[in-house]
């Protein structure tokens, strides 16, 4: 699986892209990432799976791309 970070979240993780072993759902992924990057837990962000925004815990498949995105600030 591929995990992507954007905006100020890259300041926390120090990388914009992480290859990650398979994990069953987005909540589990958040939990393991919080252990590795404690500051992520208090950061404001939304998530997308394969480019689609998600609102609740989402089942993941092998090869999925999960994005962590802070509030948008284009324009």
């Amino acid at each position: 699986m591929m995990v992507l970070f954007f905006g100020n979240l890259v300041d926390i993780t120090q990388q914009s892209e992480l290859a990650w072993p398979f994990i069953h759902n987005t909540m589990q992924l958040q939990q393991v990432l919080y252990e590795q990057y404690p500051a992520l837990q208090t950061a404001q962000y939304v998530m997308a799976v394969n480019g689609k925004m998600i609102q609740t815990n989402t089942i993941l498949q092998e090869g999925d791309t999960i994005a962590f995105m802070p509030p948008f600030s284009g324009g």
Partner: protein
């Protein structure tokens, strides 16, 4: 009218005034158009307690931004009677005073062009995965926030 396929609307660096002028000139052959509504976003040299903004560096989740833009366009073409709509957004570094966003909406009449242009600008600000990092005069950086 006709919907367009997914295209890359990102431009590396600032959007040149020449590009804007050429784009306007390019519409002179479409003689059913009666109104153009144009929005230009310019990087502002904001002064805040951290320093003065010298430039904004834009990054995006491009695959998602292109898909989102496609959906926003389709919705606007359904909602309003439009002849065409062009959007360009900068990626990378844009200095204060330079143009970072160009939205160009054309219609037979003004009301649809103006309304669709405004909706598109709002959608760009709040629905597209784009982030701006303000580069200050003291080399500090601050992540931009949209309100």
């Amino acid at each position: 009218m006709k919907e367009q396929p997914i295209k890359n609307f990102f431009v590396a660096g600032p959007i040149s005034p020449q590009k804007i002028a050429e784009s306007i000139a390019g519409h002179s052959t479409k003689k059913n158009i009666g109104a153009h509504s144009i929005f230009l976003g310019q990087v502002r040299a904001d002064e805040n307690k951290e320093g003065t903004v010298q430039a904004i560096e834009y990054t995006t989740y491009q695959a998602m931004a292109l898909e989102q833009m496609h959906q926003i366009r389709e919705a606007l073409f359904k909602k309003y009677t439009l002849t065409c709509m062009h959007v360009y957004h900068s990626i990378g570094l844009v200095k204060a005073g330079e143009i970072c966003l160009f939205v160009f909406v054309s219609s037979v009449h003004r009301k649809d062009a103006i309304a669709a242009c405004e909706e598109m600008v709002e959608a760009i600000k709040f629905k597209l995965p784009i982030w701006g990092k303000e580069i200050l005069d003291n080399q500090k950086t601050v992540w931009k926030e949209n309100h």
